[in-house]
Protein backbone atom coordinates (compact mmCIF):
# COMPACT_ATOMS: atom_id res chain seq x y z
CA UNK A 1 0.00 0.00 0.00
CA UNK A 2 1.50 3.38 -1.00
CA UNK A 3 2.01 6.11 1.56
CA UNK A 4 -0.85 8.64 1.45
CA UNK A 5 0.14 11.14 4.11
CA UNK A 6 1.82 11.85 7.41
CA UNK A 7 -0.55 12.19 10.36
CA UNK A 8 0.28 14.17 13.49
CA UNK A 9 -2.11 13.27 16.33
CA UNK A 10 -2.14 15.51 19.38
CA UNK A 11 -2.94 13.95 22.74
CA UNK A 12 -3.70 16.71 25.23
CA UNK A 13 -3.81 20.43 24.60
CA UNK A 14 -1.63 22.01 21.89
CA UNK A 15 -2.21 25.44 20.35
CA UNK A 16 -3.59 25.20 16.81
CA UNK A 17 -0.94 27.53 15.30
CA UNK A 18 1.79 25.60 17.06
CA UNK A 19 0.67 22.31 15.45
CA UNK A 20 0.16 24.00 12.09
CA UNK A 21 3.74 25.24 12.11
CA UNK A 22 5.08 21.78 13.00
CA UNK A 23 2.94 20.19 10.26
CA UNK A 24 4.20 22.70 7.65
CA UNK A 25 7.80 21.97 8.60
CA UNK A 26 7.20 18.22 8.37
CA UNK A 27 5.46 18.54 5.02
CA UNK A 28 8.26 20.70 3.68
CA UNK A 29 10.96 18.28 4.86
CA UNK A 30 9.35 15.04 3.66
CA UNK A 31 7.35 16.50 0.76
CA UNK A 32 4.35 14.45 1.81
CA UNK A 33 0.96 15.89 2.67
CA UNK A 34 0.70 16.22 6.46
CA UNK A 35 -2.53 16.33 8.40
CA UNK A 36 -3.27 17.13 12.04
CA UNK A 37 -5.74 15.16 14.15
CA UNK A 38 -6.75 15.02 17.78
CA UNK A 39 -6.64 11.79 19.72
CA UNK A 40 -7.76 10.67 23.17
CA UNK A 41 -5.99 8.14 25.40
CA UNK A 42 -6.47 7.55 29.11
CA UNK A 43 -2.91 8.42 30.09
CA UNK A 44 -3.36 7.16 33.65
CA UNK A 45 -2.96 3.62 32.30
CA UNK A 46 0.56 4.49 31.17
CA UNK A 47 1.63 6.31 34.31
CA UNK A 48 4.33 4.69 36.44
CA UNK A 49 3.86 5.98 39.99
CA UNK A 50 7.31 4.72 41.01
CA UNK A 51 8.98 6.91 38.42
CA UNK A 52 6.25 9.55 38.13
CA UNK A 53 6.60 9.36 34.37
CA UNK A 54 4.75 7.82 31.43
CA UNK A 55 5.91 4.58 29.83
CA UNK A 56 6.99 5.46 26.28
CA UNK A 57 7.10 1.84 25.13
CA UNK A 58 3.46 1.22 26.02
CA UNK A 59 2.32 4.58 24.64
CA UNK A 60 4.06 3.92 21.34
CA UNK A 61 2.38 0.53 21.06
CA UNK A 62 -1.02 2.05 21.97
CA UNK A 63 -0.76 4.76 19.31
CA UNK A 64 0.40 2.19 16.78
CA UNK A 65 -2.44 -0.18 17.65
CA UNK A 66 -5.30 2.29 17.83
CA UNK A 67 -4.41 5.24 15.64
CA UNK A 68 -1.99 4.11 12.90
CA UNK A 69 -2.60 2.61 9.51
CA UNK A 70 -0.29 1.13 6.90
CA UNK A 71 -1.02 3.96 4.48
CA UNK A 72 0.31 6.72 6.75
CA UNK A 73 3.21 7.51 9.03
CA UNK A 74 1.74 8.54 12.38
CA UNK A 75 3.37 10.57 15.14
CA UNK A 76 1.64 10.91 18.51
CA UNK A 77 2.30 14.29 20.12
CA UNK A 78 2.33 14.46 23.92
CA UNK A 79 3.20 16.94 26.62
CA UNK A 80 3.95 14.46 29.41
CA UNK A 81 7.29 13.16 30.74
CA UNK A 82 8.18 9.96 28.83
CA UNK A 83 10.55 7.20 29.88
CA UNK A 84 11.59 3.75 28.75
CA UNK A 85 12.60 1.20 31.42
CA UNK A 86 16.32 1.45 30.85
CA UNK A 87 16.57 5.25 30.50
CA UNK A 88 15.69 8.07 32.86
CA UNK A 89 13.77 9.94 30.13
CA UNK A 90 13.25 10.17 26.39
CA UNK A 91 12.20 13.03 24.10
CA UNK A 92 10.47 10.59 21.79
CA UNK A 93 10.80 7.25 20.07
CA UNK A 94 9.61 5.43 16.97
CA UNK A 95 9.41 2.02 15.35
CA UNK A 96 12.42 1.89 13.04
CA UNK A 97 11.13 1.49 9.50
CA UNK A 98 7.64 1.20 11.00
CA UNK A 99 4.55 3.33 10.83
CA UNK A 100 4.45 5.04 14.24
CA UNK A 101 6.43 7.34 16.49
CA UNK A 102 5.80 9.54 19.53
CA UNK A 103 7.33 12.82 20.70
CA UNK A 104 6.82 14.89 23.83
CA UNK A 105 7.15 18.59 24.59
CA UNK A 106 7.72 17.97 28.28
CA UNK A 107 11.52 18.12 28.43
CA UNK A 108 11.96 20.60 25.60
CA UNK A 109 10.93 23.83 27.33
CA UNK A 110 13.51 26.25 28.72
CA UNK A 111 11.67 26.69 32.02
CA UNK A 112 12.22 22.99 32.78
CA UNK A 113 15.91 23.87 33.13
CA UNK A 114 15.46 27.12 35.02
CA UNK A 115 15.83 29.39 32.01
CA UNK A 116 13.47 32.06 30.72
CA UNK A 117 10.49 31.10 28.57
CA UNK A 118 11.24 30.88 24.84
CA UNK A 119 8.22 29.72 22.86
CA UNK A 120 9.93 30.12 19.50
CA UNK A 121 12.81 27.94 20.72
CA UNK A 122 10.36 25.37 22.06
CA UNK A 123 8.56 25.20 18.74
CA UNK A 124 11.85 24.79 16.91
CA UNK A 125 12.96 21.94 19.23
CA UNK A 126 9.61 20.19 18.92
CA UNK A 127 9.51 20.23 15.12
CA UNK A 128 13.06 18.81 15.09
CA UNK A 129 11.99 16.00 17.43
CA UNK A 130 8.93 15.21 15.29
CA UNK A 131 10.97 15.21 12.06
CA UNK A 132 13.65 13.07 13.79
CA UNK A 133 11.15 10.40 14.90
CA UNK A 134 9.50 10.45 11.47
CA UNK A 135 12.93 9.88 9.95
CA UNK A 136 13.20 6.67 12.01
CA UNK A 137 9.81 5.49 10.73
CA UNK A 138 11.26 5.86 7.23
CA UNK A 139 14.16 3.63 8.30
CA UNK A 140 16.75 6.38 8.83
CA UNK A 141 19.36 5.68 11.53
CA UNK A 142 21.16 8.22 13.71
CA UNK A 143 23.44 10.38 11.61
CA UNK A 144 26.93 11.62 12.53
CA UNK A 145 26.60 14.91 10.64
CA UNK A 146 26.56 17.69 13.26
CA UNK A 147 23.71 19.66 11.70
CA UNK A 148 21.52 16.79 10.47
CA UNK A 149 18.16 16.45 12.18
CA UNK A 150 18.79 12.68 12.45
CA UNK A 151 21.74 13.27 14.78
CA UNK A 152 21.09 11.65 18.15
CA UNK A 153 20.21 14.18 20.89
CA UNK A 154 20.26 13.39 24.57
CA UNK A 155 20.03 16.98 25.88
CA UNK A 156 18.06 19.98 24.63
CA UNK A 157 21.37 21.67 23.89
CA UNK A 158 22.04 18.85 21.40
CA UNK A 159 18.72 19.56 19.71
CA UNK A 160 19.60 23.27 19.48
CA UNK A 161 22.89 22.41 17.78
CA UNK A 162 21.28 20.65 14.84
CA UNK A 163 19.03 22.03 12.10
CA UNK A 164 15.54 20.81 11.32
CA UNK A 165 16.71 19.48 7.95
CA UNK A 166 17.99 16.12 6.76
CA UNK A 167 21.58 16.11 5.52
CA UNK A 168 22.35 15.12 1.92
CA UNK A 169 23.16 11.50 2.90
CA UNK A 170 19.93 11.03 4.86
CA UNK A 171 17.95 12.71 2.10
CA UNK A 172 19.45 10.29 -0.44
CA UNK A 173 18.62 7.37 1.86
CA UNK A 174 15.08 8.70 2.26
CA UNK A 175 14.60 9.07 -1.50
CA UNK A 176 15.62 5.44 -1.92
CA UNK A 177 12.81 4.29 0.39
Amino acid sequence: MSLQNITLISFGYFERDFLKYVAESVEHEFRISTIIKEGHIDLSEFYDPGRRQYNGNYLLKEVDHKFSSDSTKTIGLFSVDLFIPILTYIFGQAFLDGRTGIASLYRLSNERYGMKVDNTGLLDRFRKEVIHELGHTFGLLHCHIQTCVMRSSTYVEDIDQKSHNLCANCRTALNMV
Binding site: R51, N57, F83, I84, P85, I86, L87, T88, Y89, I90, Q93, F95, L96, H136, L141, H142, S152, T154, Y155
Partner: protein, 446 residues
Protein backbone atom coordinates in the same frame (compact mmCIF):
# COMPACT_ATOMS: atom_id res chain seq x y z
CA UNK B 1 34.94 -0.86 5.03
CA UNK B 2 33.80 0.47 8.41
CA UNK B 3 32.97 -2.39 10.71
CA UNK B 4 29.46 -2.56 12.19
CA UNK B 5 29.67 -2.93 15.97
CA UNK B 6 27.61 -5.84 17.31
CA UNK B 7 25.93 -5.79 20.72
CA UNK B 8 24.36 -8.64 22.71
CA UNK B 9 21.80 -7.58 25.32
CA UNK B 10 21.21 -10.04 28.18
CA UNK B 11 18.34 -9.16 30.51
CA UNK B 12 15.39 -11.12 31.89
CA UNK B 13 13.03 -8.11 31.58
CA UNK B 14 11.47 -7.98 28.13
CA UNK B 15 10.81 -4.23 28.35
CA UNK B 16 14.50 -3.56 29.04
CA UNK B 17 15.58 -5.77 26.15
CA UNK B 18 13.09 -4.06 23.81
CA UNK B 19 14.11 -0.57 24.88
CA UNK B 20 17.81 -1.21 24.46
CA UNK B 21 17.23 -3.07 21.21
CA UNK B 22 15.36 -0.11 19.65
CA UNK B 23 17.84 2.41 21.03
CA UNK B 24 20.87 0.62 19.57
CA UNK B 25 19.12 -0.19 16.28
CA UNK B 26 18.46 3.52 15.74
CA UNK B 27 22.16 4.09 16.26
CA UNK B 28 22.93 1.59 13.50
CA UNK B 29 24.38 -1.19 15.67
CA UNK B 30 23.87 -4.88 14.99
CA UNK B 31 21.87 -6.11 17.99
CA UNK B 32 20.73 -9.44 19.43
CA UNK B 33 18.96 -10.22 22.71
CA UNK B 34 18.93 -13.08 25.18
CA UNK B 35 16.52 -13.42 28.11
CA UNK B 36 18.93 -15.27 30.38
CA UNK B 37 22.59 -16.15 30.83
CA UNK B 38 22.20 -19.70 29.55
CA UNK B 39 20.71 -18.47 26.26
CA UNK B 40 23.42 -15.83 25.98
CA UNK B 41 26.18 -18.43 26.35
CA UNK B 42 24.46 -20.56 23.71
CA UNK B 43 24.36 -17.61 21.30
CA UNK B 44 28.00 -16.84 22.05
CA UNK B 45 28.99 -20.37 21.05
CA UNK B 46 28.01 -19.70 17.46
CA UNK B 47 28.42 -15.92 17.15
CA UNK B 48 30.76 -13.33 18.55
CA UNK B 49 29.81 -9.84 19.70
CA UNK B 50 31.90 -6.73 20.22
CA UNK B 51 29.98 -5.60 23.29
CA UNK B 52 27.87 -7.59 25.76
CA UNK B 53 25.46 -5.64 27.94
CA UNK B 54 24.30 -7.91 30.77
CA UNK B 55 22.01 -7.60 33.76
CA UNK B 56 23.42 -8.88 37.06
CA UNK B 57 20.23 -10.13 38.69
CA UNK B 58 18.74 -12.82 36.52
CA UNK B 59 16.96 -16.06 37.40
CA UNK B 60 19.21 -19.11 37.11
CA UNK B 61 22.79 -18.14 36.34
CA UNK B 62 23.45 -14.53 37.38
CA UNK B 63 25.31 -11.91 35.36
CA UNK B 64 28.54 -12.23 37.34
CA UNK B 65 28.77 -15.97 36.77
CA UNK B 66 28.03 -15.42 33.07
CA UNK B 67 30.73 -12.74 32.98
CA UNK B 68 33.29 -15.19 34.39
CA UNK B 69 32.32 -17.88 31.87
CA UNK B 70 32.51 -15.51 28.89
CA UNK B 71 35.87 -14.19 30.07
CA UNK B 72 37.19 -17.76 30.38
CA UNK B 73 36.12 -18.40 26.80
CA UNK B 74 37.20 -15.10 25.26
CA UNK B 75 39.26 -12.88 27.51
CA UNK B 76 39.09 -9.75 25.38
CA UNK B 77 35.26 -9.57 25.40
CA UNK B 78 33.88 -6.19 26.39
CA UNK B 79 31.15 -6.76 28.96
CA UNK B 80 29.15 -3.99 30.59
CA UNK B 81 27.08 -5.06 33.57
CA UNK B 82 23.81 -3.38 34.54
CA UNK B 83 21.83 -3.61 37.72
CA UNK B 84 18.82 -2.03 39.33
CA UNK B 85 20.23 -2.75 42.80
CA UNK B 86 23.61 -1.10 42.95
CA UNK B 87 26.00 -2.03 45.72
CA UNK B 88 29.68 -1.24 45.90
CA UNK B 89 30.51 -4.90 46.48
CA UNK B 90 28.87 -6.15 43.29
CA UNK B 91 30.39 -3.30 41.28
CA UNK B 92 33.88 -4.09 42.59
CA UNK B 93 33.35 -7.81 42.01
CA UNK B 94 32.18 -7.21 38.42
CA UNK B 95 35.19 -5.04 37.64
CA UNK B 96 37.54 -7.56 39.30
CA UNK B 97 36.06 -10.29 37.13
CA UNK B 98 36.88 -8.27 34.03
CA UNK B 99 33.77 -6.17 33.33
CA UNK B 100 34.54 -3.15 31.16
CA UNK B 101 32.09 -0.96 33.09
CA UNK B 102 29.23 -1.07 35.55
CA UNK B 103 25.99 0.94 35.39
CA UNK B 104 22.86 1.35 37.46
CA UNK B 105 19.44 1.11 35.82
CA UNK B 106 17.83 3.35 34.73
CA UNK B 107 20.56 5.54 33.26
CA UNK B 108 20.59 8.84 31.43
CA UNK B 109 20.44 8.56 27.63
CA UNK B 110 23.75 10.41 27.54
CA UNK B 111 25.38 7.89 29.91
CA UNK B 112 24.37 5.07 27.61
CA UNK B 113 25.82 6.86 24.57
CA UNK B 114 29.04 7.55 26.51
CA UNK B 115 29.32 3.97 27.64
CA UNK B 116 29.01 2.57 24.15
CA UNK B 117 31.30 5.24 22.71
CA UNK B 118 34.02 4.31 25.23
CA UNK B 119 33.61 0.61 24.53
CA UNK B 120 33.74 1.21 20.77
CA UNK B 121 36.88 3.31 21.23
CA UNK B 122 38.47 0.47 23.19
CA UNK B 123 37.59 -2.01 20.44
CA UNK B 124 39.07 0.14 17.69
CA UNK B 125 42.22 0.84 19.74
CA UNK B 126 42.76 -2.89 20.32
CA UNK B 127 42.21 -3.66 16.65
CA UNK B 128 44.41 -0.77 15.53
CA UNK B 129 47.16 -1.95 17.85
CA UNK B 130 47.10 -5.46 16.39
CA UNK B 131 47.03 -4.16 12.83
CA UNK B 132 49.97 -1.81 13.50
CA UNK B 133 52.01 -4.61 15.05
CA UNK B 134 51.43 -6.75 11.98
CA UNK B 135 52.12 -3.79 9.74
CA UNK B 136 55.55 -3.19 11.29
CA UNK B 137 56.49 -6.83 10.67
CA UNK B 138 55.22 -6.80 7.12
CA UNK B 139 57.04 -3.55 6.32
CA UNK B 140 60.33 -5.06 7.49
CA UNK B 141 59.80 -8.17 5.42
CA UNK B 142 58.97 -6.33 2.22
CA UNK B 143 62.47 -4.88 2.24
CA UNK B 144 63.77 -8.34 1.29
CA UNK B 145 62.51 -7.80 -2.24
CA UNK B 146 65.74 -6.63 -3.90
CA UNK B 147 66.77 -6.32 -7.55
CA UNK B 148 67.76 -3.89 -10.24
CA UNK B 149 67.51 -6.13 -13.30
CA UNK B 150 65.00 -5.46 -16.08
CA UNK B 151 63.10 -8.57 -14.97
CA UNK B 152 62.75 -7.31 -11.39
CA UNK B 153 61.92 -3.79 -12.57
CA UNK B 154 58.97 -5.32 -14.39
CA UNK B 155 57.93 -7.17 -11.22
CA UNK B 156 58.07 -3.91 -9.21
CA UNK B 157 56.05 -2.13 -11.89
CA UNK B 158 53.45 -4.91 -11.85
CA UNK B 159 53.22 -4.71 -8.05
CA UNK B 160 52.69 -0.96 -8.23
CA UNK B 161 49.98 -1.13 -10.86
CA UNK B 162 48.08 -4.03 -9.28
CA UNK B 163 48.31 -2.87 -5.65
CA UNK B 164 45.65 -0.16 -5.88
CA UNK B 165 43.10 -2.46 -7.45
CA UNK B 166 41.05 -5.16 -5.78
CA UNK B 167 41.77 -7.81 -8.42
CA UNK B 168 42.88 -11.34 -7.62
CA UNK B 169 46.54 -11.98 -8.36
CA UNK B 170 48.44 -15.17 -9.13
CA UNK B 171 52.17 -14.97 -8.46
CA UNK B 172 54.20 -17.58 -10.28
CA UNK B 173 57.83 -18.49 -9.94
CA UNK B 174 60.13 -21.25 -8.77
CA UNK B 175 60.60 -22.04 -5.09
CA UNK B 176 62.64 -19.45 -3.27
CA UNK B 177 62.10 -16.62 -5.75
CA UNK B 178 60.17 -14.54 -3.21
CA UNK B 179 56.50 -15.03 -4.08
CA UNK B 180 55.34 -14.30 -0.53
CA UNK B 181 57.42 -11.11 -0.50
CA UNK B 182 55.64 -9.94 -3.65
CA UNK B 183 52.29 -10.69 -2.00
CA UNK B 184 53.36 -8.62 1.04
CA UNK B 185 54.48 -5.79 -1.22
CA UNK B 186 51.12 -5.76 -3.03
CA UNK B 187 49.25 -5.74 0.28
CA UNK B 188 51.47 -3.06 1.85
CA UNK B 189 50.90 -0.74 -1.08
CA UNK B 190 47.17 -1.34 -1.30
CA UNK B 191 44.31 0.54 0.38
CA UNK B 192 43.93 -2.55 2.59
CA UNK B 193 47.39 -2.07 4.10
CA UNK B 194 46.07 -1.17 7.57
CA UNK B 195 44.20 -4.47 7.79
CA UNK B 196 45.75 -7.93 8.10
CA UNK B 197 47.60 -9.89 5.46
CA UNK B 198 46.76 -13.48 6.32
CA UNK B 199 48.98 -16.20 4.81
CA UNK B 200 48.00 -19.82 4.34
CA UNK B 201 50.47 -22.45 3.12
CA UNK B 202 48.01 -24.75 1.37
CA UNK B 203 50.65 -27.37 0.56
CA UNK B 204 51.53 -27.93 4.20
CA UNK B 205 48.02 -28.91 5.30
CA UNK B 206 45.79 -31.91 4.69
CA UNK B 207 42.37 -31.29 3.09
CA UNK B 208 40.41 -31.35 6.37
CA UNK B 209 42.95 -29.22 8.20
CA UNK B 210 42.99 -26.71 5.35
CA UNK B 211 39.20 -26.54 5.39
CA UNK B 212 39.15 -25.78 9.11
CA UNK B 213 42.06 -23.36 8.73
CA UNK B 214 40.37 -21.40 5.95
CA UNK B 215 36.76 -21.40 7.11
CA UNK B 216 37.21 -21.78 10.88
CA UNK B 217 35.25 -24.21 12.98
CA UNK B 218 32.59 -24.35 15.66
CA UNK B 219 33.17 -25.87 19.06
CA UNK B 220 32.68 -29.66 18.80
CA UNK B 221 32.86 -29.71 14.99
CA UNK B 222 35.46 -32.49 15.26
CA UNK B 223 37.58 -34.19 17.92
CA UNK B 224 39.80 -31.56 19.47
CA UNK B 225 37.65 -28.61 18.42
CA UNK B 226 37.38 -27.32 21.99
CA UNK B 227 36.52 -23.76 21.07
CA UNK B 228 35.00 -21.76 18.26
CA UNK B 229 37.78 -20.64 15.98
CA UNK B 230 37.83 -17.97 13.31
CA UNK B 231 39.03 -19.09 9.89
CA UNK B 232 41.65 -17.31 7.81
CA UNK B 233 39.01 -15.84 5.48
CA UNK B 234 37.29 -14.30 8.51
CA UNK B 235 40.59 -13.02 9.88
CA UNK B 236 41.38 -11.42 6.52
CA UNK B 237 38.23 -9.25 6.67
CA UNK B 238 39.04 -5.85 5.10
CA UNK B 239 42.55 -7.15 4.33
CA UNK B 240 44.22 -9.67 2.04
CA UNK B 241 44.47 -13.44 2.11
CA UNK B 242 47.58 -15.03 0.60
CA UNK B 243 47.16 -18.64 -0.52
CA UNK B 244 50.58 -20.14 -1.09
CA UNK B 245 51.03 -23.35 -3.12
CA UNK B 246 47.47 -23.03 -4.49
CA UNK B 247 48.12 -25.83 -7.01
CA UNK B 248 48.21 -28.41 -4.20
CA UNK B 249 44.58 -28.02 -3.07
CA UNK B 250 42.16 -30.89 -3.65
CA UNK B 251 39.29 -30.88 -6.16
CA UNK B 252 36.74 -30.51 -3.34
CA UNK B 253 38.66 -27.59 -1.91
CA UNK B 254 38.79 -25.98 -5.37
CA UNK B 255 34.97 -26.05 -5.50
CA UNK B 256 34.65 -24.61 -1.98
CA UNK B 257 37.19 -21.93 -2.74
CA UNK B 258 35.43 -20.91 -5.95
CA UNK B 259 32.17 -20.49 -4.06
CA UNK B 260 33.81 -18.34 -1.39
CA UNK B 261 35.51 -16.17 -3.99
CA UNK B 262 32.23 -15.66 -5.82
CA UNK B 263 30.04 -14.91 -2.79
CA UNK B 264 32.61 -13.69 -0.24
CA UNK B 265 30.62 -15.72 2.28
CA UNK B 266 31.09 -19.11 3.90
CA UNK B 267 30.05 -21.29 6.82
CA UNK B 268 32.43 -22.46 9.55
CA UNK B 269 33.09 -26.22 9.75
CA UNK B 270 30.31 -27.65 11.92
CA UNK B 271 28.37 -24.38 11.82
CA UNK B 272 25.28 -23.19 10.01
CA UNK B 273 25.60 -19.43 10.13
CA UNK B 274 26.69 -17.69 6.94
CA UNK B 275 29.67 -15.42 7.56
CA UNK B 276 30.68 -12.69 5.14
CA UNK B 277 34.17 -11.29 4.82
CA UNK B 278 35.60 -8.59 2.58
CA UNK B 279 39.01 -9.85 1.50
CA UNK B 280 41.32 -9.66 -1.48
CA UNK B 281 42.92 -12.87 -2.63
CA UNK B 282 46.51 -13.34 -3.79
CA UNK B 283 47.77 -16.82 -4.70
CA UNK B 284 51.18 -18.23 -5.45
CA UNK B 285 52.36 -21.36 -7.17
CA UNK B 286 55.55 -22.81 -8.58
CA UNK B 287 53.57 -24.92 -11.03
CA UNK B 288 51.99 -24.09 -14.37
CA UNK B 289 48.30 -23.72 -13.49
CA UNK B 290 47.32 -23.42 -17.15
CA UNK B 291 48.75 -26.82 -18.00
CA UNK B 292 47.07 -28.24 -14.88
CA UNK B 293 43.78 -26.87 -16.23
CA UNK B 294 44.47 -28.56 -19.57
CA UNK B 295 45.21 -31.84 -17.80
CA UNK B 296 42.01 -31.47 -15.77
CA UNK B 297 43.71 -31.34 -12.37
CA UNK B 298 42.81 -27.70 -11.70
CA UNK B 299 39.35 -26.21 -12.28
CA UNK B 300 39.20 -23.85 -15.22
CA UNK B 301 36.58 -21.58 -13.59
CA UNK B 302 38.72 -21.24 -10.46
CA UNK B 303 41.79 -20.55 -12.59
CA UNK B 304 40.07 -17.64 -14.35
CA UNK B 305 38.64 -16.35 -11.06
CA UNK B 306 42.13 -16.27 -9.51
CA UNK B 307 44.30 -15.40 -12.47
CA UNK B 308 42.95 -11.89 -13.11
CA UNK B 309 46.51 -10.59 -12.94
CA UNK B 310 49.63 -12.73 -13.20
CA UNK B 311 53.00 -11.65 -11.85
CA UNK B 312 55.89 -13.90 -12.76
CA UNK B 313 59.11 -13.77 -10.76
CA UNK B 314 62.09 -14.91 -12.80
CA UNK B 315 64.51 -17.46 -11.28
CA UNK B 316 67.74 -16.02 -9.91
CA UNK B 317 69.84 -17.68 -12.66
CA UNK B 318 68.01 -15.49 -15.19
CA UNK B 319 68.94 -12.26 -13.42
CA UNK B 320 72.52 -12.74 -12.33
CA UNK B 321 73.07 -8.96 -12.42
CA UNK B 322 70.99 -8.82 -9.20
CA UNK B 323 73.38 -11.14 -7.34
CA UNK B 324 75.90 -8.47 -6.14
CA UNK B 325 73.02 -6.32 -4.89
CA UNK B 326 71.43 -9.27 -3.11
CA UNK B 327 74.75 -10.35 -1.60
CA UNK B 328 75.31 -6.84 -0.27
CA UNK B 329 71.78 -6.73 1.10
CA UNK B 330 72.02 -10.10 2.87
CA UNK B 331 75.46 -9.29 4.32
CA UNK B 332 74.01 -6.10 5.81
CA UNK B 333 70.93 -7.90 7.06
CA UNK B 334 72.77 -10.74 8.83
CA UNK B 335 75.65 -8.65 10.18
CA UNK B 336 73.09 -6.28 11.71
CA UNK B 337 71.09 -9.14 13.23
CA UNK B 338 74.30 -10.74 14.59
CA UNK B 339 75.40 -7.36 15.94
CA UNK B 340 78.71 -7.31 14.05
CA UNK B 341 80.36 -4.85 11.63
CA UNK B 342 79.56 -5.53 7.95
CA UNK B 343 81.87 -8.05 6.30
CA UNK B 344 83.08 -7.80 2.70
CA UNK B 345 83.26 -10.45 -0.01
CA UNK B 346 86.25 -11.09 -2.23
CA UNK B 347 85.97 -10.81 -6.01
CA UNK B 348 86.57 -14.51 -6.69
CA UNK B 349 83.84 -15.57 -4.26
CA UNK B 350 81.38 -13.08 -5.75
CA UNK B 351 82.25 -14.28 -9.27
CA UNK B 352 81.65 -17.86 -8.18
CA UNK B 353 78.28 -16.88 -6.69
CA UNK B 354 77.34 -15.31 -10.03
CA UNK B 355 78.12 -18.57 -11.85
CA UNK B 356 76.05 -20.79 -9.59
CA UNK B 357 72.70 -22.10 -10.85
CA UNK B 358 70.62 -21.70 -7.64
CA UNK B 359 67.90 -24.35 -7.80
CA UNK B 360 66.69 -22.85 -4.49
CA UNK B 361 66.84 -19.31 -5.93
CA UNK B 362 67.14 -16.22 -3.68
CA UNK B 363 66.40 -18.29 -0.58
CA UNK B 364 69.40 -20.48 -1.35
CA UNK B 365 71.66 -17.46 -1.90
CA UNK B 366 70.43 -15.96 1.37
CA UNK B 367 71.21 -19.18 3.25
CA UNK B 368 74.69 -19.31 1.68
CA UNK B 369 75.47 -15.77 2.80
CA UNK B 370 74.15 -16.37 6.31
CA UNK B 371 76.24 -19.56 6.59
CA UNK B 372 79.33 -17.79 5.23
CA UNK B 373 78.98 -15.02 7.82
CA UNK B 374 78.54 -17.54 10.64
CA UNK B 375 81.49 -19.78 9.73
CA UNK B 376 83.73 -17.08 8.20
CA UNK B 377 86.45 -15.03 9.87
CA UNK B 378 84.14 -12.09 10.48
CA UNK B 379 85.94 -9.82 8.03
CA UNK B 380 85.79 -11.17 4.49
CA UNK B 381 83.79 -13.90 2.78
CA UNK B 382 86.05 -16.07 0.63
CA UNK B 383 85.63 -19.16 -1.55
CA UNK B 384 86.22 -21.50 1.36
CA UNK B 385 83.19 -20.06 3.20
CA UNK B 386 80.85 -20.90 0.34
CA UNK B 387 79.28 -24.36 -0.03
CA UNK B 388 79.70 -24.38 -3.79
CA UNK B 389 81.60 -27.64 -4.20
CA UNK B 390 78.48 -29.17 -5.65
CA UNK B 391 78.17 -26.46 -8.30
CA UNK B 392 76.67 -27.98 -11.35
CA UNK B 393 78.13 -26.69 -14.58
CA UNK B 394 75.86 -27.95 -17.23
CA UNK B 395 77.81 -28.97 -20.28
CA UNK B 396 75.54 -31.79 -21.35
CA UNK B 397 72.33 -31.32 -23.26
CA UNK B 398 70.26 -32.31 -20.21
CA UNK B 399 67.63 -29.78 -19.14
CA UNK B 400 67.81 -27.98 -15.82
CA UNK B 401 64.79 -29.95 -14.62
CA UNK B 402 66.60 -33.23 -15.39
CA UNK B 403 69.63 -32.07 -13.46
CA UNK B 404 67.51 -30.93 -10.54
CA UNK B 405 65.64 -34.24 -10.51
CA UNK B 406 68.90 -36.22 -10.50
CA UNK B 407 70.42 -34.11 -7.79
CA UNK B 408 67.39 -34.28 -5.51
CA UNK B 409 67.18 -38.06 -5.98
CA UNK B 410 70.88 -38.38 -5.22
CA UNK B 411 70.52 -36.44 -1.97
CA UNK B 412 67.34 -38.31 -0.98
CA UNK B 413 69.06 -41.65 -1.47
CA UNK B 414 72.11 -40.42 0.42
CA UNK B 415 69.92 -39.63 3.46
CA UNK B 416 67.79 -42.80 3.11
CA UNK B 417 64.78 -40.65 2.16
CA UNK B 418 64.83 -38.79 5.45
CA UNK B 419 63.01 -35.65 4.21
CA UNK B 420 64.23 -33.36 6.99
CA UNK B 421 67.89 -34.28 6.47
CA UNK B 422 67.62 -34.16 2.69
CA UNK B 423 65.84 -30.77 2.79
CA UNK B 424 68.52 -29.49 5.12
CA UNK B 425 71.28 -30.69 2.79
CA UNK B 426 69.54 -29.14 -0.21
CA UNK B 427 68.97 -25.93 1.77
CA UNK B 428 65.29 -25.84 0.97
CA UNK B 429 62.33 -26.22 3.29
CA UNK B 430 60.47 -29.53 3.64
CA UNK B 431 57.39 -28.28 1.77
CA UNK B 432 59.53 -27.34 -1.21
CA UNK B 433 61.19 -30.73 -1.16
CA UNK B 434 57.81 -32.50 -1.00
CA UNK B 435 56.66 -30.43 -3.96
CA UNK B 436 59.78 -31.34 -5.92
CA UNK B 437 59.25 -35.03 -5.13
CA UNK B 438 55.68 -34.69 -6.36
CA UNK B 439 56.73 -32.69 -9.42
CA UNK B 440 59.36 -35.22 -10.55
CA UNK B 441 57.35 -38.22 -9.30
CA UNK B 442 60.34 -39.46 -7.29
CA UNK B 443 60.04 -42.68 -5.35
CA UNK B 444 62.47 -44.55 -3.08
CA UNK B 445 62.68 -47.41 -5.61
CA UNK B 446 63.99 -44.96 -8.24
Amino acid sequence: MAKKISILIVDDEESVRDSLYSWFKEDGYQVECAENAKKALLILESSSFDIILADIKMPGMDGLEMLRRIKALKNDSIIIVMTAFATVDTAVQALKDGAFDYVTKPFDPDDLSHLIRNATKQISLTEENEVLKKKVVSLEDVEDLVGNSEEMKKVFKDIESVAQSNSSVVITGESGTGKELVAKAIHSNSPRKFFPLVSVHCGALSESLLESELFGHEKGAFTGAMYNRKGRFEMADSGTIFLDEISTISTKMQIDLLRVLETKSFVRVGGNKEITSDFRVICATNRDLKSMVEKGTFREDLFYRLNVVNIHIPPLRDRIEDIPLLVEYFIKKYCTSMNMPPVTIDTAALKRLEEFQYPGNVRELENMIERAIVIGNGKKITMKDLPLQRTIVSTSIESLDDLEKKHILHILNKYNWNISHAANALKVDRVTLYNKIKKYDLKPAD
